[in-house]
């Protein structure tokens, strides 16, 4: 085992401009928000983002000007509203939106995780989404060679980097996720580089006491960062719930066209305070 513990700053430098990035969690839950804020502070450009159902993580990166392209099944703030920066920049064609759908996006990750060029899924036929051509997780109609069943083959999605926020990790990159796992294991196996931000670092001996609780073994993970409150204002199961008031403030400020103020207050402050 190799020690892969590093700083947030160093880990975020693994992301290069133009990279294809995916984030762990789902909507407001266990998304790697502190890592996302660091990407904004480092001024990343032209990122392509892909995920099943992201929310504020993607919208924040879009609002900060880090993003060129989005592929997602759905991008919204659930019952709190539409994703303001996504909507604005997509309508202004400042970003390219190539809508996917949940199962095909997961299939793209699964194909990459399995080392396959593509994976078929059912459904999809008859939807105009099939006409949205895309190299990331693109679709092609195929026939099963045994039954002749018509399906959609989804091209593998191999992110340059997957960043996943978790509850516990050790300095070698062993990871324990508590509660819902979402597609985080699949994404980690699919990506070329995996960064884990963790609420807590625990000793390697703790993993050895209960290996069945290990979600990802160390050789899958390239960098570990200690990041308490790293999913804030989203939730991290067993640690904290969503701060819905904070998210409402984000939406209010964005609606007034003053998103820069949000960035100054909650993202860039760290730079000026250090």
């Amino acid at each position: 085992m190799k020690k892969v513990l590093t700083s947030l700053d160093e880990a975020a430098r693994l992301v290069r401009d133009g990279d294809l990035v995916t984030t762990g969690g789902a909507t407001f839950h266990r998304a790697p928000m502190e890592f996302v804020r660091e990407l904004v502070r480092q001024g990343k450009k032209n990122l392509s983002l892909v995920d099943r159902e992201p929310a504020m993580d993607f919208d924040l990166l879009i609002g900060a000007g880090c993003v060129a392209k989005i592929r997602a099944g759905m991008l919204a703030f659930e019952g709190l509203g539409l994703a303001p920066n996504f909507r604005k920049k997509s309508e202004a064609r400042e970003i390219i939106t190539k809508e996917g759908a949940c199962q095909p996006i997961i299939a793209g990750f699964r194909a990459a995780a399995m080392g396959l060029p593509s994976l078929p899924v059912k459904g999809m036929l008859g939807s105009d989404l099939l006409d949205i051509s895309e190299e990331i997780g693109g679709y092609k109609q195929v026939e099963d060679p045994f039954t002749g069943e018509k399906m959609i083959a989804v091209r593998a999605i191999q992110p340059d980097l997957a960043v996943i926020h978790v509850q516990k990790a050790d300095e070698y990159g062993n990871v324990r996720i508590e509660g819902p796992v979402y597609e985080d294991v699949i994404k980690a196996k699919a990506a070329k580089t995996v960064v884990v931000t963790a609420e807590e670092l625990i000793p390697n001996s703790e993993f050895r006491k209960m290996p069945e609780a290990t979600t990802l073994p160390h050789f899958i993970v390239d960098a570990v960062v200690e990041a308490p409150k790293g999913a804030y204002p989203g939730s991290c199961f067993n640690y904290y719930d969503v701060d819905y008031d904070h998210i409402k403030e984000y939406l209010r400020v964005a609606a007034k066209g003053q998103f820069k103020e949000y960035l100054d207050k909650y993202v860039y402050w760290r730079e000026t305070n250090e």
Binding site: E53, M74, E78, R87, E91, C102, G126, S127, D128, Y182
Partner: protein, 253 residues
């Protein structure tokens, strides 16, 4: 009935009524009404249903709902976790019985649009996206579409973009699968030979004419059309106890 029953309660009860005991049912993202409907069904006529939450809990005791339908507090007392990707695999195997989906636009064949208003390459409005719609709509034995604002802007002659597949955009094998539309005015289905939308019931306080006037295409009427059954006081109390904050109203504003 002395007090007027509120529309969310009527819709939630109608949605719950689409679930049969022992069925496997899933809800997705942004789904306060489906969460409440599944909770009502499980506590009333479908105690043995398999309840798969979008928050990944199986058979949870939902004692409160939140603005996010993936809030892990809704997994309390769950018997297991089952990821959405596993639930989608179940759907591919034909073992997911019921799914609830939304729509920004819907047409007479049941095509739904959750992608864009206007042209896909030059959208007037960028919508959030269809999530699992295009995958689940054709292959799931029963899909229930809930629409909180029954108007001509939603019930359109032609959707701007086909996100979820109506009957005219399905392979023959998937035309047998059921589609039910539950709106703020009534319950619609496609149980006729042409597989086009028809009114099955109108909510108490509303009329067939009102539904037709607020629909952008000619609606058929089922031969056995009736008033939508109203929920009992016990069921209304159950809904209000799980949702003291009124999260169910967010889609109606």
């Amino acid at each position: 009935m002395n007090n007027k029953i509120e529309i969310p309660d009527l819709m939630i009860y109608a949605m719950a009524s689409e679930i049969k005991n022992f069925e496997t049912v899933l809800h997705g993202v942004s789904s306060p009404l489906p969460v409440l409907a599944m909770s009502v069904a499980r506590k009333t006529h479908a105690p043995d249903m398999a309840y798969i939450s979008g928050a990944e809990g199986v058979d949870p005791e939902v004692d409160r709902i939140y603005p996010s339908s993936f809030d892990a507090r809704m997994n309390r007392n769950a018997v297991a976790y089952f990821g959405l990707h596993e639930a989608f695999d179940l759907a591919q195997r034909g073992e997911l019985n019921v799914m609830f989906l939304g729509a920004a636009q819907i047409d007479r064949y049941g095509n739904t649009n959750l992608s864009v208003i206007g042209d896909i390459d030059q959208p007037k409005v960028q919508l959030p996206g269809g999530a699992a719609s295009a995958f689940l709509m054709p292959i799931t034995p029963k899909v229930v579409i809930w629409i909180t604002r029954h108007s001509k802007r939603v019930f359109v002659d032609e959707v701007d973009f086909v996100t979820g597949q109506g009957y005219n955009n399905r392979a023959e094998a998937y035309k047998k699968n059921e589609l039910v539309v539950i709106s703020s005015l009534g319950v619609m289905n496609f149980k006729n030979s042409d597989r086009v939308m028809q009114i099955q019931s109108y909510h108490p306080g509303h009329t067939l004419d009102e539904i037709k006037e607020n629909t952008g295409f000619d609606l058929m009427v089922a031969p056995d059309v009736a008033e939508t059954p109203a929920p009992s006081k016990e069921i209304i109390d159950l809904i209000h106890n799980i949702d003291p904050d009124g999260v169910r109203w967010t889609e109606f504003r």
